[in-house]
């Protein structure tokens, strides 16, 4: 009886596996095979000798990588920008979400939302063009109109490092504030309206309601989203750091992140070993951070933990 039942179960698994097969095959090739490719980080890769024929060189790639100034710069930039994005981005998203909620009228919410989501639909290439329209030295809006009006000498933006942290953070906010506010809006709409009504009857002003009800009720969402972002803190948005500064070498000190470094190593310098080492450094630290962040999320709220 049990044998028959088992057999039945197994036979019902096969067609389902077959349906899942194309997806499984794709993930195996696209995601799993490259995981085994991390051994490239321990090889002195040579195109003529190929992937398997190239000589092993132990930890040399890592030794060289961490001796360079680049290793420090890219790690610092990746971390600092992500911290700035998490803090400023979260505050901005909550600010917008609270205002949106106060609008009340659905049609009005939809109208503002469409506009604020627009930048999120644009590619980093197009955003690079938009930033270029503002910043390019000869015909840019800032040099030609703003600085001229203030009687300030034109600035060569794509070779001056100082303003770039500011520019990149503003660009990030511009692209993501709308989409990030959606999640907070959803949580605010989830708050029981009776609480606000009761507070209002007790004479609480709108400001008091926001600071005493809305924000405290958002706390779990804020904590979870922040922890999830901390799990991704070793990864950067390649497009933001590659397209927006137009890949300008003079800006690397403030724009180079791990992702752009790996790209340069691989495509421009053709230094496979070094970029593979940097990529592995990112994957491993990133993996540990995700695990750590998830462990923390589990402590706060089991429901929202990834696993």
């Amino acid at each position: 009886m049990t044998k028959k039942k088992k057999k039945q179960q197994r036979s019902s698994s096969a067609p389902l596996l077959l349906i899942a097969a194309p997806g499984i095959l794709y993930l195996l090739i696209n995601n799993y095979i490259p995981m085994f490719g991390i051994f490239l980080a321990f090889k002195d890769f040579n195109y003529r000798k190929g992937i398997f024929g190239s000589d092993w060189n132990g930890l040399d790639n890592f030794r060289f990588l961490f001796k360079t100034h680049d290793a420090w710069v890219m790690t610092r930039n990746t971390l600092l920008y992500n911290f700035a994005f998490i803090i400023i981005g979260t505050i901005a998203a909550i600010f917008v979400a609270v205002l949106m909620y106060e609008l009340g009228q659905r049609s009005r919410v939809k109208f503002f939302q469409s506009i604020m989501l627009l930048p999120n639909l644009l590619s980093w290439v197009v955003i690079g063009f938009i930033v270029y329209a503002f910043l390019n030295a000869d015909t840019g809006f800032i040099n030609n109109t703003v600085l001229k009006a203030l009687h300030i000498e034109p600035i060569s933006w794509y070779s001056t490092t100082k303003p770039w942290p500011f520019i990149l953070i503003v660009t990030y906010l511009w692209k993501y504030v709308g989409v990030n506010s959606i999640i907070y809006m959803a949580s605010i709409s989830g708050i029981d309206k009776g609480i606000f009504e009761a507070a209002q009857l007790d004479g609480a002003s709108k400001m008091q309601q926001i600071f005493k009800i809305t924000l405290p009720m958002l706390k779990p969402t804020i904590i979870i989203l922040t922890l999830m972002s901390i799990g991704r803190i070793f990864y950067s948005d390649f497009g933001l750091f590659y397209q927006v500064p137009q890949n300008s070498g003079r800006l690397f000190e403030v724009t180079q992140t791990i992702d752009t470094y790996v790209y340069h190593g691989l495509m421009d310098l053709k230094d496979i070993g070094m970029s593979a080492a940097a990529a592995l450094y990112q994957s491993v630290v990133g993996f540990l951070l995700v695990l750590g962040a998830n462990a923390l999320v589990r402590k706060v709220d089991r429901e929202n933990a990834l696993f």
């Binding site: 106060e102 939302q113 627009l118 959803a186 004479g203």
Partner: protein, 299 residues
């Protein structure tokens, strides 16, 4: 007391509307600058740069693009083909993978879920995958380079569809079909795939947007400009501008293969890169927002 609080509410509503209007205006402004720049007279541009109030307007850059339409139309057709094929295949494979994971009695349900989930935690990095695609699969300078690497199946989309099946499609539908003697394949293609349409709409939108906006695959795997989609064409144009500025070698101009567009034409190119999205998006906003909320609740 009551009156006071109502006034407070109205004031707040007014305040919110004003602040959001200012924000919305600031967000639109950069896009507006590009659109205005694209219809600014070329001589005015050289004189006074990109401005919001140009002294003279002209549609020259759009006429220029019509004249150069071969290059642009080709890029458009590449982007449209890649977006359609990529999205279609992606949605099909993703749904096929998500459906078995939603069946409570499926033997490998948990193993499969972990298999998909692990790709969110760890990856081999771009170097290994670049070498795999370019050396083992020889994907460089083929249209497949724009479709296959990276985007076809993402764990995020798989879980989105699986959760939809688990929460919104009753098992009794499958059971009654099984009693009627339908095979698993029939059940999936005739019943479950059509039932997944609300979640399919969301992932199609996400995936379509990714393919339309993708330039990274092109950057890694294409050297042949014939295969450039609209995004990679934009990158090429921007690079040529930078290149000319640096070299300041006039003789090089003659040897360049790609015609160098004027200052306003560049912005017109950016505009036609945005246009299709801006036109289609308002109809799909609902699905987009739903997807963002769903994704945030459970990745």
């Amino acid at each position: 007391m009551k009156r006071h609080s109502r006034d407070d509410g109205t004031n707040f509503r007014l305040g919110s509307t004003i602040i959001l209007s200012v924000l919305a205006f600031l967000i639109l402004l950069p896009v507006l600058l590009v659109v205005i720049a694209s219809v600014t007279d070329e001589n005015m541009l050289i004189q006074s740069g990109y401005t919001f109030f140009p002294a003279k307007l002209s549609l020259d850059s759009y006429y220029y693009m019509i004249k150069q339409s071969e290059m642009i139309l080709r890029a458009y057709s590449v982007t449209i083909t890649v977006t359609c094929v990529g999205t279609l295949v992606s949605v099909l494979i993703t749904t096929m993978l998500a459906y078995p994971m939603s069946r409570p009695k499926f033997r490998y349900r948990n193993a499969l879920a972990f298999f998909v989930f692990f790709t969110m935690l760890f990856n081999g990095g771009i170097v290994a995958s670049y070498i795999m695609w370019s050396r083992i699969f020889q994907i460089k300078d083929t249209i497949w380079a724009l479709i296959i690497p990276n985007y076809l199946v993402t764990a995020f989309n798989v879980f989105l569809v699986r959760n939809y099946y688990v929460t919104s499609v009753p098992l009794s539908i499958i059971e009654s079909a099984q009693i009627d003697g339908a095979s698993e394949l029939t059940i999936f293609f005739k019943i479950m795939l059509p039932l997944a349409i609300p979640s399919v709409a969301t992932i199609s939108l996400f995936t379509g947007l990714i393919y339309w906006n993708d330039w990274i695959n092109g950057l890694y795997y294409l050297t042949d400009a014939k295969l450039f989609g609209i995004q990679n064409l934009l990158i090429r144009i921007m690079n040529n501008i930078q290149f000319l500025k640096v070299s300041s070698n006039v003789a090089l101009l003659g040897t360049m293969n790609v015609d160098l567009p004027g200052t306003s034409v560049r912005m017109a190119m950016a505009v036609i890169g945005i246009l299709p999205i801006v036109i289609i998006y308002p109809f799909l906003q609902k699905h987009f927002i739903k997807g963002v909320v769903l994704g945030a609740v459970k990745g």
